[in-house]
Structures are given as structure tokens and as C-alpha cells.
């Protein structure tokens, strides 16, 4: 392959892309929020890394370039021409290909059929697709990056890693001038990661501009030429990729913490009796050899990047997943829950990260949502008269200041913050001994946030052992007595409140 096989106009000096003043707002959030005079240039023949914390706007930026989501403001140029894709298809026609974080193949179709989807024929004569030639053409395309995959295989029967490689091969096959690759290393093992890097390097040498998102600095160092750091939807700085780790980490964090939002004390609460002990817990492909102890009244934070295994760990502790090895113990007895029911019975509660799909039932009344986990305790032989229902739910609504029209209102009408309070309320009807909170304040306004923080402190003071998983560093640092950091499924660090750990320190152990 040579440089002029890609779609670039030979002889012009325009960079692959110039992005100016990009903004992308969702109701209530500014996923991308550049200043008007901010611009980012993506050069041809370079691998351009994007680096940033969870929620920094990396994926949103890629989505905007790939035509997945429209811009609220700003402009883009592609090879010197104005570029405003209104769909992925339009973006592809202009020579911009994207490999998403989520699986992008239809599992019921073969690899070759997936190549054809929405892209026009790979091999055709007079508008008729030639199946034999298509298979051959796709086979050739796979040869470069994943020769072990047959074009006739059904995509669904491939392992996750191979599916990603097929997506990459597909994107490369259509000779893009810009290739966007979103966080692939989380699902690729070592050997396939090597295949990926080699492919990216070859493309780069052919003059393709590549934008590569990674959570891991070592990858940025290995494959990228340039790196841009993003934070809270804004551009921080663009630097050579060989910039040292410390500088990059410092740029990723370092915001002002609204100290009043969180705990004000700096003393670490060592806690009382042991509430939860985890020893050598391992779940294949998720986390390994996790050991810690959580005491009554203690807030233990767990931090890590998306995919670090913390979510699976939390679900295991709640009985929603089963560990392959290791053991869990509650206050005094071993604990191997067969399911959430048993965990609940033993006094473990779980506030999941996906509020609307795992936390509340949007169309069921607030009362029924709040009472769901404790119905059985208040029933006699399965009969449930519900006499105490209104009392309990009203008490919860008042205690947690859930803003609604009444207990019969449905969460569908409520804001994220109030929905989250319902999820917490349902676990407080019968107060748990261990409360697992995963991103308890994600996407909710500052007022509700601070109310939830106050509530968490109140519960801890009352002796509840709290496990706080969070993607937000300020939250972890502001609330936890101790913080465990997970990186690729392994515990890499334990920070103590009294040592006053910094965001930089935590991030350096995550990436």
C-alpha cells in the first residue's frame, strides 16, 4: 500500500483535520465545551492520542467527528474542506472511519456480510453483489491484520477480541483518510494488541491520520506521535507523545475541588467491628487476587478506570456474579451468596451505576419502588396487606428529601437526583450493614449531590460500612477514609485519608 491509495488529495499541505470551537451539549451537561478560539489539528501520517479521565469528553469528541452526534457549535475541516457530517454514513463517504468501544458487528451475519453493511458492495458487477469475490476481497482485507479469521465465519461465533479486529479490518479496508479508534485495549489481549499496533503503524506510514483513545499511558507512549489531554469536555494541551508520565497526569487532573461538597474532616475513621472481609477474590477477565477489610462506620473508596474490574467486584459482593476463587466474609460468618436475595438477607445492599435500568422501575410508584426489597419481611404467608406502606414511604420521602408529588408518583417524572434518592431509600427501609454505592452521584445536580454526600456520612456515623466505587476522583478523595485503586483487575494502591492523597497520585496508579 502506498500513500496515494488512501483518499487524500496528493500535493496539498492541508492537515487531515482541523477542529475549531467544538461544543456538544446534552440537556444539563456539556460533554464538549471548547472556547471559540480553541482548535485542534490532526496531522496526516500521525497517530494522535486522546487522553483524559472518565467523562473528559474523549468519546464524545470521536462521536462528533464520526457523525454519530451533531455539534451544538463549532466547525470542522477535513483535508482543507469544510466538514459537517450528519450521519456515520456521510462521514464514511468523506473518508472518516470509526471503530467504537461497543461491539459494532451484527452477530447473526458472517464477517463478509458485516463488511457490506451500509457500505455498498465490496465486489460487484453492474450493481449485483458477487458473493465469491466479496468473500475473497474480505479475506484479503483480513489478511493484513487478522489472517486467522475466515470471512465466512458468523460474527457472533468470534471471540470479542477477534470481533474488534474484524471491525478494524473493515475500517481499514475502505481506505479512510482519518481513522478513529476508541479504547480497544480494554478488550484486546497482549498478542492482539500487538496486531493492532502494527496495523496502526502501517496505516500511519501510508499517510492516514489516526486518532486513538486510550486509558493507558504506556500505550500512548508506544503507538502515538502526539497526545492531546482533555478534561471536563475541554482541551488542556497537545504535546509530543513521549512527554513524561508525571506531566501528563498533572494535566489530566488538577481541578478545584468544591471542598464544602464533601466531608470536612481530615481524620481517618478506622471504623469499628469488621463488616466485610475479602480475601484473594478472583474472577477471570475481571479482577484478580483482591483482598481488603471493611469496618463498620468506614467509607472505603474504590477507584479505577472503566473496565478496571471494580464493577464486577461490586456485583460479586452483592451475589450478582460469582467469583472463581477467593473468599468473602461478613461480620463473623463466611459469605458466598447464591444471588442478590441472599446478599440482601445478610444485610448487603447495592446501589448500581445504571440508575434507570438497574436501580429504579420508572413506571412503578415511588412507594412500590421503595418497598420492593422489604416486601417479604412485611408479608404473612404471602399475603401483603400493605398497611404500613404509606407510613414507611412517606418517612423515606421526607428523610431523603425526595422531591415528588407523593408516594404514588412514578420516578419517570423525576429528575436523576430524585431517582437516585429512591434507589438509596429502598435500601434504608431496613438499614443494611454493608452498603455498596457505585457512582452514586453520576449525572445529578450539585444540590442533590451534596444531599447524598451528607446522607452517606450520616449512614457511616450510624455504623454502616460503606463501599464507594466512583469514577469521580474528587468524590473518592472527598468522601473516603481509605481508597483502593484497581488497574486492569489488580489492586495497585491503597491510599489513606490522613496522608491526604491527591488526584495525581490516584490517576498515576490507574493508567
Amino acid at each position: 500500500m502506498t500513500a496515494n491509495t488512501s483518499r487524500q488529495v496528493p500535493g496539498t499541505d492541508d492537515p487531515a483535520m482541523v477542529l475549531r470551537g467544538l461544543r456538544r451539549y446534552y440537556p444539563g451537561t456539556k460533554a464538549l465545551d471548547w472556547h471559540d478560539d480553541t482548535s485542534l489539528t490532526i496531522e496526516r501520517g500521525r497517530v494522535h492520542g486522546l487522553l483524559g479521565e472518565n467523562g473528559a469528553g474523549k468519546s464524545t469528541l470521536l462521536g462528533v467527528i464520526a457523525g454519530l452526534s451533531p455539534l451544538s457549535a463549532g466547525s470542522m475541516e477535513l483535508l482543507g474542506q469544510p466538514y459537517a457530517p450528519d450521519s456515520v454514513v456521510r462521514a464514511r463517504r468523506s473518508g472518516v472511519e470509526i471503530v467504537l468501544q461497543e461491539p459494532g458487528l451484527v452477530p447473526s451475519l458472517t464477517v463478509a456480510e458485516n463488511f457490506l453493511l451500509g457500505r455498498g458492495p465490496v465486489a460487484s458487477r453492474a450493481g449485483i453483489v458477487l458473493p465469491g469475490r466479496t468473500v475473497r476481497a474480505v479475506g484479503d482485507a483480513l489478511q493484513e491484520i487478522a489472517p486467522h479469521i475466515s470471512p465466512r465465519t458468523r460474527a457472533g461465533s468470534l471471540c470479542l477480541e477477534d470481533r474488534k479486529l474484524v471491525e478494524l479490518a473493515r475500517a481499514m479496508h475502505f481506505k479512510p483518510s482519518v481513522l478513529l479508534v476508541d479504547e480497544m485495549s480494554a478488550c484486546l489481549g497482549h498478542t492482539r494488541l500487538e496486531l493492532l499496533f502494527n496495523a496502526l503503524r502501517r496505516l500511519r506510514d501510508d499517510g492516514v491520520a489516526i486518532v486513538y483513545i486510550s486509558h493507558y499511558l504506556e500505550e500512548i507512549h508506544r503507538v502515538c506521535d502526539t497526545v492531546t489531554v482533555l478534561k471536563d469536555g475541554r482541551l488542556v494541551e497537545t504535546l509530543p507523545a513521549r512527554t513524561d508520565t508525571n506531566t501528563l497526569t498533572r494535566l489530566m487532573v488538577g481541578r478545584d475541588i468544591a471542598a464544602t461538597l464533601y466531608r470536612t474532616d481530615r481524620t481517618e475513621n478506622a471504623g469499628g467491628e469488621r463488616a466485610l472481609a475479602v480475601d484473594g477474590l478472583t474472577l477471570a477477565n475481571s479482577y484478580r487476587d483482591i483482598s481488603f477489610t471493611l469496618r463498620a462506620g468506614e467509607i472505603l473508596g474504590i477507584g479505577g478506570l472503566v473496565g478496571c474490574g471494580s464493577q464486577e467486584l461490586a456485583r460479586t459482593l452483592f451475589g450478582d456474579l460469582r467469583a472463581d476463587a477467593g473468599s468473602i466474609a461478613l461480620a463473623d460468618a463466611p459469605f458466598a451468596p447464591a444471588g442478590p436475595r441472599e446478599a440482601i438477607r445478610r444485610g448487603v445492599a447495592y446501589v448500581p451505576p445504571d440508575r434507570d435500568r438497574e436501580g429504579v422501575i420508572l413506571r412503578l410508584s415511588i412507594l412500590q419502588n421503595i418497598l420492593l426489597p422489604t416486601l417479604r419481611q412485611r408479608s404473612r404467608l404471602g399475603l401483603y396487606p400493605g398497611r404500613s406502606d404509606t407510613g414507611i414511604s412517606t418517612r423515606m420521602i421526607n428523610d431523603l428529601v425526595i422531591r415528588c408529588r407523593g408516594a404514588s408518583d412514578v420516578p419517570f417524572h423525576l429528575s436523576g437526583g430524585n431517582r437516585q434518592k429512591i434507589v438509596i431509600a429502598k435500601w434504608l427501609v431496613d438499614p443494611p450493614k454493608v452498603l455498596i454505592l457505585h457512582n452514586p452521584t453520576r449525572g445529578i445536580d450539585v444540590g442533590a449531590k451534596s444531599e447524598i454526600y451528607t446522607l452517606i456520612q450520616r449512614l457511616a456515623q450510624a455504623g454502616t460500612a460503606i463501599l464507594l466505587l466512583s469514577d469521580e476522583l474528587p468524590e473518592l478523595l472527598g468522601m473516603s477514609d481509605r481508597i483502593l485503586v484497581l488497574r486492569r483487575g489488580a489492586m495497585t494502591y491503597e491510599a489513606h485519608r490522613e496522608d491526604q492523597p491527591t488526584e495525581e497520585l490516584l490517576v498515576s496508579r490507574m493508567i
Binding site: 476508541d182 422531591r403 445536580d445
Partner: protein, 336 residues
């Protein structure tokens, strides 16, 4: 892209939060609509009755005609009560018509040899057993309910022919009494009370609603999801069995072709009553209203002398119209 997609549902809330704070008690549009659509089926039934009373009150508003109406509605209503549980749990039971025929046949045959009481009990047990099979296949073995119960629709019908050897079985004695006044009213009343209490006064009823609302949330809240789903199918089968027994009494004979197509009437009754097929909401009395809408609609059309084929056209149109008016589409992204 996870980030992006996450952020849209997240902060849809923030805006409404401010709204809520500003005007804490002002009823917003969608809320009023929900309240209205809840009363729509009843309003529709009352509207129908008023129209027919004006158009042909002398023949429509008579004690005899109403006694007739209740008896006509009862089989579909009884079957519909059971189906309501499955639908609220978010599944579907297409087998109720065949299960009714199977149970009716077994009841009639058993009653002939062992007396009516044994016959009734056996009939109900057969219905419940069919429901158990549906439930286990759907909930434990994870075959979609549409497929499982479509299969059962065929299996139960076939078994009815096998056990009866294609012969009709006359129904007499107390079993026949189940199909005429006062037995039919007692059966309808008992079915309603049992279903109503199960739905509204037990943990099972609450769990059924929560599963239909969101299965994953329910499981994470400690609801025994699989067990409750099996139980919903058992209730559906049991009440389909009762419907079949009552039908046999009503017709005075159990045939292999009995209750053909009743699954569709029962689904129509559930939906017309305002219980959406998406599950999570609805109630037993809704289905009662739905069953009466069907029967009253028919009865009036007959009285008004509308041709049978036109009656079918009107019934179908009303069903679609009812869902069109009542459905809250704001919640549903994809209609299948």
C-alpha cells in the same frame, strides 16, 4: 461512546429537577394524561352503554339482556384475569384458549366417571399443569413466552383431541351448573376475587408488577424473578382451566374445538382494559372492563342489526383505536 450515551439520560433529570423545585405541585401535561388514560377504558364502556341505550334502549337495557351479557363475558373475563398476570409480568400466554378446551374436556370426562366435583378439580389441575409447563420453559429454560405458549396452543389442542378421541363429551349435573345462573356468577365472582387479591394483596402480585416494570431492577432488589414468572403462568393456566370448565357447562357439551380463538379475545380484553402488553402496569378489574367492552360492543351491534362481518371489522378497528388512544408512547422507543 459509552460516555455519550450515558450522559443523555443522566441529565435529562437536572432540568426537570429545577422545574419541580420551582412549581412543586403544578400538575404537568404527561401526568394529567396518565390519570386520564387510566380512566379511559371505563369511560369507553360507559360511553358504549349510553350510545346503545339511546339507540335501542328498549332492547338493550333489559334485565334479561344484561344477564345474558354477563354470562357471555364471563368465560373471556375469567381467562383474561389469569392472562393479566402473565401480561403484567411482561410475557404473553397464547395457549389459554387451547388450555381451556383441554381442561374442559378432561373435566367433562372425569365428571362422567367420578362425579362433578372431581371433574372440576381435575380440570383446574390440568390447566394449572399446562401453565406450569409454560412457566418452567419460559422462565427457567429461557424460551421466549411467545414461542412456548404458541407451542402449548397446538399441544393442548392436540391432546384434547387425543383424550377425547375426537368425540364430544356431554356435560351434566353440577358441572353443567357451572355454566348457567347462578353457578356462572359464582365462578366469575370467585375468579375475580381470587385474581384481585393475588394481584393487589400479596407479595406475588407486587413482584409480578415489578418484574414487568424492569426485570433487572427486580432481581437486584431480591425479587425471586424466576419463581414469580412461573407462578404467573400457573395462575394463567389455572384460570384458563376454570374458563374451560365454565364454557363446557354453558354449552352443555365439551368439544375438541371449544374455545378456539379465545386467546385472542382474552388478549383483546386485557389490552382494551388498559393493560399494555409491555407489562408493569394494569390490574384485574381492567380486564373485567375490557371483557365487558367486547361483549357489550357485540351485543349492541347485534341489536342494531349490523351484519356479522361488519361487526368483525368494527371490533378490530376498536381494538387498534383503543391502544392508539391510550398508549403512552413517550416511554417506548421501539414498537415491535
Amino acid at each position: 461512546m459509552t460516555k455519550m450515551m450515558e450522559s443523555s439520560p443522566q441529565d435529562r433529570g437536572t432540568a426537570t429537577d429545577e422545574d419541580t423545585l420551582r412549581q412543586p405541585s403544578a400538575p404537568t401535561g404527561p401526568r394529567r394524561l396518565t390519570g386520564m388514560s387510566r380512566a379511559l377504558p371505563l369511560a369507553g364502556l360507559v360511553g358504549l352503554i349510553i350510545v346503545y341505550t339511546i339507540a335501542a334502549g328498549d332492547r338493550f337495557m333489559t334485565v334479561n339482556n344484561w344477564a345474558n351479557l354477563v354470562q357471555q363475558a364471563s368465560v373471556v373475563a375469567i381467562i383474561g384475569f389469569g392472562l393479566t398476570f402473565v401480561v403484567i409480568a411482561g410475557s404473553i400466554d397464547l395457549s389459554v384458549g387451547s388450555v381451556a378446551a383441554f381442561s374442559g374436556m378432561v373435566a367433562a370426562m372425569t365428571a362422567g366417571d367420578h362425579g362433578s366435583f372431581t371433574g372440576i378439580v381435575t380440570g383446574l389441575a390440568v390447566g394449572a399443569a399446562c401453565g406450569l409447563v409454560n412457566g418452567v420453559l419460559c422462565s427457567i429454560f429461557k424460551v421466549p413466552s411467545f414461542i412456548v405458549t404458541l407451542g402449548m396452543l397446538s399441544v393442548a389442542r392436540g391432546l384434547t383431541i387425543v383424550v377425547s378421541d375426537s368425540r364430544s363429551e356431554p356435560v351434566s349435573g353440577a358441572l353443567a351448573g357451572m355454566g348457567v345462573a347462578p353457578g356462572i356468577y359464582i365462578a366469575l365472582g370467585c375468579a375475580f376475587v381470587v385474581a384481585f387479591v393475588l394481584m393487589n394483596g400479596t407479595t406475588f402480585g407486587r413482584y409480578t408488577r415489578s418484574i414487568g416494570g424492569e426485570e433487572r431492577v427486580s432481581a437486584l432488589s431480591g425479587v425471586p424473578v424466576r419463581l414469580v414468572k412461573v407462578a404467573a403462568f400457573v395462575v394463567s393456566g389455572l384460570l384458563a382451566g376454570l374458563g374451560g370448565v365454565v364454557l363446557g357447562g354453558q354449552l352443555g357439551i365439551a368439544t375438541a374445538q371449544a374455545a378456539t380463538g379465545f386467546e385472542l379475545s382474552a388478549i383483546a380484553a386485557v389490552v382494551l382494559g388498559g393493560t399494555p402488553l409491555t407489562g408493569g402496569i394494569g390490574n384485574v378489574w381492567n380486564t373485567a372492563i375490557g371483557a365487558f367492552i367486547i361483549v357489550v360492543l357485540n351485543n349492541g351491534l347485534v341489536i342494531l342489526g349490523v351484519a356479522p362481518e361488519i361487526q368483525q371489522v368494527i371490533q378490530g378497528a376498536i381494538l387498534v383505536l383503543a391502544v392508539f388512544v391510550a398508549l403512552d408512547r413517550s416511554k417506548i422507543g421501539i414498537i415491535k
